[in-house]
Symmetry: D2
Subunit: 337 residues, 4 copies
């Protein structure tokens, strides 16, 4: 941590900061220029985090050079993490393709989609049983019954299944039926849920919050790893900006940055990022060219009658055609598909 003093801070102000540091058990290293004094602070991670010196007299700025995370960093583990689920995997030279409807609506729907996802080369089946909806007047999902339909369809097609955990109280129940537990963007900083998932044995798909900085994504993942669960997959799904043409702004440079900051696999969800069917295929291509470890795509047998996210869902032929077109690109990037 660096404490930058105001221009011409008085010796008393500087001494006051140094005293507080010593009192707390940290070391202080002074670097004094003609107008600026900077105090380097050295100590234990937890100690440094507990020190908030921004409001001290004479202090201009406090800069934290210590990151908010450790276990998820490339410094801690240089080689890529690979998450294996059933016969599928995320990371490590394979392109993961998680596909399925926004919400589970019926057994027939799920079986149709599952077979189509498998046939096209998809590696995970996704589907929402509990839906986070802005308004209480929107469809909230089928719940437990939906989970069972998802499981059956996945089993029949030979695909592991991914679904969102919306309520921490349902963690065990959802884990009973699903292979990968998804934390939605709105729950990325639901720390109680993250802690609970840290204690569980199921892989977690952690979606980036709508206004989460990269460091906050990594700190959220750190909660899960610190709890003992190392199987975390990160997912970029667009951030909220001033642009309204797309539902969110897909941050692919953020994906490239995450790949260098962490050993965890990173996938991309262009459906939620753009909210527009016609942008899904180009953004899947871009994600693969960026080096992402996988894609997550909404597929529905009849998007015009979908109960949720129809406008950003591909129908089955469009999904199959896109997958076909992605093959040579994935090969070029050294990923099997």
């Amino acid at each position: 941590m660096l404490v930058v003093m105001r221009d011409h801070a008085t010796p008393e102000e500087i001494a006051h900061v140094v005293d507080r540091l010593h009192e707390a058990g940290a070391e202080a290293h002074l670097s004094q220029g003609e107008v600026k004094t900077v105090i380097g602070v050295i100590g234990e991670r937890e100690l440094i985090y507990s020190l908030e010196l921004e409001g001290f007299p004479g202090v201009s700025e406090v800069i934290r050079v210590l990151k908010a995370y450790k276990l998820v960093s490339r410094e801690f583990q240089a080689e890529d993490s690979v998450i294996r689920v059933g016969g599928s995997q995320v990371g490590g030279g394979v392109l993961a393709v998680m596909a399925g409807p926004c919400s589970i609506e019926s057994g027939e729907q799920m079986h149709t989609v599952a077979r189509a996802v498998k046939a096209a080369g998809g590696t995970f089946l996704r589907g929402g049983a509990y839906k986070p909806r802005t308004s209480p007047y929107e469809f909230q999902g089928m719940g437990l019954e939906g989970l069972k339909l998802l499981r059956e369809a996945g089993d029949e097609a030979g695909l592991p299944v991914v679904t969102e955990l919306l309520d921490v109280r349902d963690a065990d129940r959802v884990a009973e039926w699903a292979d990968v537990l998804q934390v939605g963007a709105r729950n990325m900083q639901n720390f109680m849920m993250l802690q609970e998932l840290g204690r569980m044995k199921r892989p977690v798909l952690l979606k980036r919050g709508m206004s989460a900085k990269l460091e906050e994504v990594l700190a959220a993942a750190e909660y899960i790893l610190k709890g003992g669960n190392r199987d975390v997959i990160l997912c970029e799904r667009g951030i909220r900006t001033f642009e309204t043409y797309t539902r969110n702004t897909l941050d692919l440079a953020g994906v490239a940055a995450l790949k260098s900051l962490t050993h965890l696999p990173v996938i991309v969800d262009p459906s939620h990022a753009t909210g527009r069917r016609d942008l899904i295929a180009p953004m899947c291509r871009a994600a693969i060219a960026t080096g992402a470890d996988g894609i997550m795509v909404e597929v529905h047998p009849d998007p015009e009658r979908a109960r949720c996210d129809g406008p950003q869902s591909l129908d089955i032929p469009a999904f199959a055609a896109m997958m076909e077109a992605l093959r040579p690109l994935a090969a070029l990037e050294g990923k099997s598909l």
Copy 2:
């Protein structure tokens, strides 16, 4: 709902949309210009919400004129809601002042603050027992023990107490000890928590999410009212923007807008909005001049040693001085303080 067709959409495309509307049970009203056709859609609220026509061939834009909320709107209830808790109230000609430390640290700390808040004219005691922290290496709060200290300090000073509910599983326990349950910015769209609070009898302080639009704030409150709990207080605490000088950007025009859109009381938290001690007093003044129903301020007996948010906390003399200076302003705005 309005469906705006693309320029020169074909009759088939228009008929396709109209058919889908009729199939779903809605009425379609066509308005055709030379190049543009617009289809007005009329039907039940739930029905309209379930229709997503954005991806239909020939459709350019779908505009929802039906709002995502109803019970919280001024149209539904014209007169201001007033929330009464113990001897204090929020809304209705009284300026609510919720003050106290970011986190509860000890009985002595809480008693000192509680007495000082009461003496200066504060009307609620706030304090966090469970703390949402970006990094798992930061202080996470005292938990249940903290709740008890908060209760005792509030009782002794004669102040109702406000505290954050961080885990939906703790709802009953926290409600046992606190008068007002706070939903933090990160949980504003934790819909499971909102539904649980809808079933409870405790007033709720709902903080605006970091990237929540006003309509989303109102839709989140709607979840609680729809569940049966009408005692909701909204709180503006800054939104996340590109500006980094302040921790967030305080949206006071949003407060004025909320006051016209909803009958619920709206308070302002300048501590979290700005993250800077020197901006608290001017932003409290601005909030009152905007017409806010109250303020929420972090006060600590020794901000330099606070375990959380010290840089944005006032010490006791500064809080007392600010309160003194706010009195004539509150009077000018017709609010008792």
Copy 3:
């Protein structure tokens, strides 16, 4: 400037940075912790600005503690600048009120507004002769003819006039007719215009860019002061965020921050910030309570027929009523109105 090295940067990487600093003529001060090395850099302002060390091997972050401005800072001049124009002034215990239509439309319109602004206690007449419009199909202003109408109306009413300079080539011509030259938000970083204004003798009203950080506002003003013109008034007019209910997000905490960072006067324009007539009065109140030196308000004799910005313009009775209501508030803040 501080150069923060990556954890465990090698001695060679550190030496490489230090060598580059010495080569450029700067001093390097090392502060070495167990895992982190930080290099403090000391030298001339221009030299420091020319050094970009972010991409050097082993460098994690470069932090500029030297600000991008000097002459505009409180450190450089502690007392408030006061700008005097005709009988009016901005700063120094007087609340400046700049009012008038978005665009100049006719002599009659301008005379009507000018008299009304004066009668209500306004101190400057504003009006646009050259209009920046998103689309080339929108009304672009009356140009020189409009300038003359503005001048006449201001002279008749005894009000100095403010107008936007849209084209740097018109600087002399506009300065011939106007008392204060406004730089619009879209031109805040039109550095050629800023340099031209630095050479002129007219006060400048510099509006904050839609996505400008506070430091960038101050650096833009620095261009003008560095050129020799010290009469600069800053104007907050809302920043662009994800919120769409208001046209922009008014950043009043930014105004309070600017008041502490610079000696220049700061005024607030709620018309452009909110884009909504009903929010103008509450935001004028909030601006005054924040400590702003003035307000800028769009007033039109017939907003429903205005050629520009009608929805965010007050009519004359509403303006007069608002001014009346602002008087006791201004008095409370120690400002004459």
Copy 4:
């Protein structure tokens, strides 16, 4: 244009809007539901733009379905525009590669870079002679002398040259020396400059403003086309968001969207978008996979000594290696490189 009335708007309010429309010469089509009335407005483009009905009594929302642009749209011209400059081109099955230093520093620097850009397969030489800099204390460019060095280096290597026009008064002079005139992000809405460029014969490279919506980018280009100059290249260079790890947020979904909204070619500048050398290659790949018509990259013979943007510049071997690696990807996308 659609005028959405408030719930239960009175017949008088509706009639008032309709009267105003008729008075202005527009047609009004009413569509009345049980609670909502919507008025469709039909008339000439310029007329519609002049109508601002947001503030009328009873009006809830005004929705403009008419776009702010026409000549640049796909509806107006379905086939891709191709811009030819010297032997190079932008659009039409060729991947344009514009490379060179941020700022022109010397003849030797430019010759070295020009030869290297040509050798690696680049198709345009870029270099800044006039630099827009946040602070007046930063290097401002070599001016006219720099332009000449750029021209010489381009001619020698057989590359057309691109440079930024910073001051509208320099338009003719810069056009004398450069093949393509660049409008920087800060000038995207400098409408006077856009109008001047509309009258000129030189192709224009129009960079997206830091906080410009896609529709605003297109409306800015419309100014140039409306003036008579149809040779406009759009350039995505990142937008400003809350994320600070990268300098800006590269909006590749915006690039895909632009490709469907306009016939103009769209290129991508990952150097300015990310500000980080290590993200340039992945973002060039992603841009090509998105369907962009070209890339713009900063290349410097000695980035550590660059006077501007060194941290986001590639050195010559890194540029050559990247170009080599891009070839199979460009081929896969059907673009010659």
